[in-house]
Amino acid sequence: MFDFHGLFTGFDIAFSLVNLLYAFIGALVGTAIGVLPGLGPAATIALLLPVSYKIGSPVTSIIMMAGVYYGAMYGGSTTSILLNIPGEAASVVTCMDGYQMAKKGRAGAALGIAAIGSFVAGTIGILGLTFIAPPLAEIAIRFGPPEYFALTVLGLLMATYLGGGSAIKGLIMVVVGLLMGMIGLDPISGAVRFTFGNVNLQGGIDFVTVAMGMFGVGEILYNLEKTEGVQLVTDKVKNLWPTLADFVRSRWAIVRGSVIGFLVGILPGGGAVLSSLLSYATEKKVSKHPEEFGQGAIEGVAGPESANNAAASSSFIPLLTLGIPSNASIAMIFAALLIQGVTPGPFLLKEHPDVFWGVIASMYIGNAMLLVLNLPLVGVWAQLLRVPYAYLAPIIALFTLIGVYSVNNSAFDIWLLIVTGILGYLARKLNFETGPLLLAFVLGPILERALRQSLLISAGSPAIFFARPISGAMMAAAVLFILGNLWASWKKSRESKVQPASVS
């Protein structure tokens, strides 16, 4: 029987004045760092750690840190939409359609749907966390290398839908992304690859750096070509709110995004970035008008922004129920709890029910706070577009530099940002899409590692991918996916052959 008593006690704790205050502070700080490009939740939570000792109570400090984490997912979409610069790694994909919407004067609609989608998805995620966390966590740890391999195969197949332009250019970008993902230590043998003798490259390149460079710096450089005084995006910011038609178009995207985000978020090593990319590809695939993607399709904003919020909520499941931190931000919260004498994991519910339920309850409240905080801000942010680019660009560049530096406190990353920025500029100039590169960069290393680990486990037999239920099902889905597409293109080519024949 579900522990309603526990949940109500949790709300009791979360509604105390102190906890409400810290949930609000967390949400506010999270939104702010989400808006600032590059500056991520993990670095911010690390900075807040000494503050959390001062707070004293573990519940209150984790409520604040959780607020920072999911708040960042809310704020991340803002600069993606307005300036084509992802505020957060998980909001990279939002640039593709969000920015196009802003260019058409629909920034308000994009920001609004992102906030509403985030709220709905965040709430769905927390509901899942509340009611089905323990059994889901048990399934999630069964997710081994073969399952990851199958998932990334599916993901890469979906990636073929990410681009809209030239297929050859898209493939070139995929290969560049895969190559960039291979830089660093070989995941299995530990050999050094493609570092050109530079120790800074031994650990590989950080996704944040590549994303900020390719999108952020690349965009700024591209805009420098325009003469001074030209308005950046558009001066007409019409209807600040999504229209009824927008809601109708987005509702299923939000639901699908929530489900994808929730499921990917639970996986150890999964996370918000992957979920938003998968959601975008899914939306494009199921859409009746895929040609609108990349031109400002609202589903391309609603889906991914929902997915990254649902993933942020569900990534608390392995932390709270198993003691497994699934990404850098959650690892930071894990560390904060350990230092305060609370061990997250299977005993959390028994030993510290106040922490377990208090945090979950606070997430409901925090999500509502974020919605209230973000909707009025939509108008404010949209005004940002009126700031002349000559002032805006250097400020954004500065924040991006600081943000990227803050990930590893590494000066080398700044150089890397500049190099990837130039790459991004060239890609933009020559009409190469950055989406496929980033997806390959994220998925490539997971695919390689999972493939090699699986084959080591099975002593070289590829049967391991088909014999296990979860990976077997996903591999079957991948095969069906390929067959379905072959069938569709075969039918298409036959129709085009039949038609001229009937004319003659």
Partner: protein, 325 residues
């Protein structure tokens, strides 16, 4: 109003990040400005948590703040290099000195610095031993069960953090001593390796106590042996040696170092302060929760210990023919 709030916040976050990078300019008496603990690993890992536990109790013993700065990435080498390159004035300390990157990696590939010549040990704080474990519902109740089974199999798998690191070396040594063939599966880090083990992806596995202890407590993993000369105070499990296998390694050692050229007086000052911290009741109770034993050693003793560990790992790598190429 909202805009202004955001601006204040932005400035605060900015100021904080700048403050962490550029500490106040130097004065005469040591220490007169914040001391940075450079952790070459990402935030949230066992070394980082240890550094943060120290920073938490430090205000009782230091007049200046100890600031934890993560310089992660690059296989934990650039973070070390940063300390090597910094001024030897006692304000930049390397935290995590004695880990695999100091004792194992120099045998495997060239580094831009000499870990023993360019860094001076201050003290040892803890030593993370290697614990072998199996899932709690596994058929193996003892190490003997595992060995008997493994000897009859052509293919035995174990999840390890990375190839050729402390955990991998200990398991390879065990397989050699026990006489079976082991395929170690490098996962991406210690926590992933333990997750793979709890998910029954491999036959056995394990890691450092801080990684396996929560799962042992939760009855998800069963420890079978620890690769130390004597039992680890953090985990209640017999050593390999007690069970008839000569598997003793240094594991991953967590100490503190300063750049070469740092005055001896500063090293002694720091060593003394950290020694006091290791005897602080709050720190002791935190370390117990973290599953990290407190094993303090002063500068000279620690230098000898590291050299011994380094040589031992060199011999093991040769003996086990572990190559990372």
């Amino acid at each position: 109003m909202n805009k202004r709030r955001i601006l204040v916040l932005v400035l605060t976050v900015l100021a904080l990040s700048v403050a962490a990078v550029f500490p106040a300019l130097a004065a005469e008496k040591y220490p007169s400005k914040p001391i940075e603990l450079i952790v070459p690993y990402s935030a949230g890992g066992s070394t980082d948590v240890l550094a943060r536990a120290i920073a938490k109790v430090a205000p009782k013993y230091f007049d200046v703040p100890l600031v934890v700065v993560n310089k992660a990435g690059g296989g934990a080498i650039p973070g070390r290099d940063y300390v090597v390159q910094s001024k030897p004035d006692g304000y930049i300390l390397l935290f995590g000195y004695g880990s695999g990157e100091d004792l194992v990696v120099p045998h495997e590939r060239p580094l831009p610095f000499d870990t023993f010549k360019d860094l001076l040990p201050v003290c040892r704080i803890s030593q993370h031993s290697v614990v072998l474990a199996v899932p709690a519902d596994s058929q193996f109740k003892t190490l003997k069960d595992l060995v008997t089974w493994a000897k009859s199999r052509p293919h035995v798998t174990a999840a390890v953090s990375t190839k050729g690191a402390a955990v991998d070396i200990a398991f390879q040594l065990f397989a050699k001593e026990a006489g079976f063939k082991l395929t170690s599966i490098p996962m991406s880090g210690g926590s992933d390796a333990v997750t793979a083990l709890t998910g029954h992806q491999v036959d056995f596995g394990g890691g450092h106590p801080s990684e396996v202890l929560p799962h042992i407590k939760a009855d998800r993993l069963r420890p079978l042996a620890v690769a130390l000369a004597e039992r680890d105070p953090a985990v209640d499990v017999p050593t390999f040696k007690e069970q008839g296998y000569d598997v003793v390694t240094a594991g991953s050692v967590k100490g503190i170092a300063v750049p070469k050229g740092t005055p001896r007086a500063i090293i002694d000052y720091l060593a003394d302060k950290f020694h006091q911290i290791t005897r602080d009741p709050e720190f002791i109770s935190m370390m117990k929760d973290l599953g990290q034993p407190i094993l303090y050693m002063g500068p000279d003793e620690y230098a000898g210990f590291l050299k011994k560990g380094f040589d031992q790992y060199g011999n093991l790598l040769k003996e086990l023919k572990i190559e990372t190429k």
